[in-house]
């Protein structure tokens, strides 16, 4: 619990307590609790179907949990009124897995949109701010292209630019560097660290990529089948004695015990 002691003087920006969620009758998240402190890069790691993207959706107040509480920037998002959520959302940025750029708008219009909706700045200023953010993500000069004309890596970078255009206190990213070639992925990891250091942003990243997670995380959690296996710094996670964590870290395949009778049953469909 050394980490808790070190962090106790920093404010908590995201606090999830005993979160339980269901999809239909299936339990997706089971008693998940975590804290994200100001100014850190917090990584939620887990395999496919571990519930990590679901956890993100709940933190973003896109879904209502079965039980448990979620506080973001000091506000209980489960019980917030729409007007309170509206104010809260102006202070956070989100980049989705697919980028989720609006396909009917150019890259520049996409990035300007939050400014247009939430500020009274004049168009010229907004355009400059959008170009500034494009510059930060290394996409200067692409503002007039349509999202369909961009490659996967560019889409993710443009989505990051849109997520940070309002200079949010809190940035969420769903798999920002997955599915990209190693060089682009590394560049995005660098970018996330730069956002933390240069702009003082608190960043919450969901990823299944070990390498990227270890590179950017100040602290991380490992999620498996909806349960938190371990929480801590990169070192603490690496040295975890949890067998499942080690299995995930060392990419070991599940050992399947062979039950001949069940196998036959599965094959015959009986």
């Amino acid at each position: 619990m050394g980490v808790e002691a070190v962090n106790s003087d920093r404010s908590v920006l995201v606090e999830v307590e005993h979160l339980v969620t269901h999809y239909g009758a299936r339990k997706i998240l089971d008693d998940v609790s975590l804290k994200v402190y100001e100014g850190e890069v917090f990584v939620i790691m887990g395999g496919s179907g571990s519930g990590k993207s679901t956890l993100l959706r709940y933190m973003l107040a896109l879904e209502r949990p079965t039980s448990g509480s979620i506080r973001v920037l000091g506000r209980d998002v489960v019980r917030s009124r729409p007007s309170e959520l509206y104010e809260l959302r102006k202070k956070m940025g989100v980049s989705f897995q697919s980028g989720a750029l609006f396909s009917s708008m150019s890259v520049g219009e996409n990035i300007i949109l939050p400014l247009k909706e939430h500020t009274d700045l004049d168009l010229k200023t907004m355009e400059i701010m959008a170009r500034l953010k494009l510059e930060v993500v290394g996409m200067a000069g692409f503002e007039n292209l349509m999202p369909s004309e961009l490659s996967g890596g560019m889409l993710k970078r443009a989505a990051l630019a849109r997520a940070v255009v309002m200079d949010p206190k809190l940035l969420f990213g769903d798999e920002p560097s997955s599915g990209l070639d190693p060089i682009v992925a590394a560049a995005i990891d660098e970018l996330i660290l730069r956002l933390r250091d240069a702009l003082g942003m608190t960043v919450v990243i969901v990823t299944h990529q070990l390498e990227s997670a270890f590179k950017i995380a100040d602290r991380m959690v490992v999620l498996d089948s909806g349960k938190l296996l371990v929480t801590g710094t990169v070192e603490e996670v690496r040295n975890s004695s949890n067998e499942r964590v080690q299995q995930l870290l060392n990419r070991r395949v599940d050992e399947v015990e062979l039950d001949p009778e069940a196998y036959l049953k599965r094959l015959t469909g009986a």
Binding site: R57, L60, L62, P82, S83, L85, Y86, E87, R89, K90, M92, V94, F96, Q97, S98, A100, L101, F102, S103, S104, L113, P114, E117, H118, F172
Partner: protein, 278 residues
């Protein structure tokens, strides 16, 4: 053994019957909840139209104008062609029918009333449902799958205000407008045929039409158009927002949206006429 087999067969039949009941029940619940969702969307849309500006989340006029362009202005050529054709067709059928009684010259009454009260709103409604309703459902479906609607929500941009209100308002303005255009073109088309076939001059024809038509007849048609506009938009939005299953799902909801909105238009038309005309 035979007894057991019989038991199993019975069980199978009972299970199938139970399944059918369950499916019917589910379908009922689903359609009731879709109705409720549509009604809630409609109410929320009015909230944004009237209260949005005061809470600094206005509905953008430029977006409404863009939608009006797409829904209305771009549809003018096809509405014109269809209306002209319908007008001529009505004239032919009307003259043929009335010739059985030797009353061809009374054809203008039938044309004037059926065009303004029925054919124009119905044809433009069906056309716009196929053109713009389907496009709206496909757009919302694609956005939903691409997480664009989630992106709007987490940006603090209400999707109803941003995606539903502009097409709804545009539809409610443009559909009656198109319907009125259709009135004029169809009556003109019918007039041309009548003047050629019966030797009635166009001015005489138009005098007759104006004599027969009342403001009420026009409003009857335009009022229906307004209702159709709401139906088309809400059906498209409910279907588009409820998309599941990727690109194939988008295709499915687009088709379903067109079929449902045309069905809704025709059924509502009948109900409207029943209530208003009797």
């Amino acid at each position: 053994m035979p007894a057991e087999g019989g038991q199993q067969a019975l069980n199978g039949a009972a299970r199938r019957a139970l399944d059918a009941v369950e499916r019917t029940g589910r379908a009922c619940v689903d359609s009731i909840s879709a109705f409720g969702y549509g009604a809630a969307l409609f109410a929320e849309s009015f909230f944004w139209i009237f209260r949005g500006r005061s809470i600094r989340q206005p509905v953008r006029l430029t977006m409404i104008f863009e939608e009006m362009m797409q829904i209305g202005i771009v549809a003018i050529p096809i509405v014109t062609v269809l209306s002209l054709t319908i007008g001529v067709m009505l004239a032919i059928q009307g003259i043929y029918t009335l010739s059985l009684f030797g009353a061809e010259s009374r054809v203008t009454i039938g044309i004037a009333l059926s065009v303004t009260r029925e054919f124009s709103p119905l044809i433009t409604g069906i056309l716009v449902a196929g053109r713009s309703g389907s496009a709206l459902a496909a757009r919302l479906g694609t956005m939903s799958i691409n997480q664009e609607i989630d992106a709007l929500r987490v940006m603090g941009i209400n999707p109803v205000r941003f995606l539903v209100v502009p097409p709804l308002v545009a539809m409610m303005v443009m559909l009656p407008a198109l319907s009125f255009l259709s009135d004029l073109v169809a009556l003109f088309g019918a007039g041309v045929y009548v003047s050629l076939d019966l030797g009635m001059s166009l001015p005489a024809y138009s005098d007759r039409v104006i004599e027969v038509l009342t403001v009420n007849d026009l409003l009857h048609g335009l009022g229906k158009s307004m209702i159709f506009a709401v139906l088309i938009t809400l059906v498209a939005v409910v279907n588009g927002a409820g998309v599941t299953g990727g690109a194939e799902g988008v295709g499915r909801v687009t088709t379903r949206s067109v079929v449902q909105s045309i069905a809704a238009i025709v059924i509502t038309d009948m109900l409207f006429v029943f209530v208003v005309t009797r």
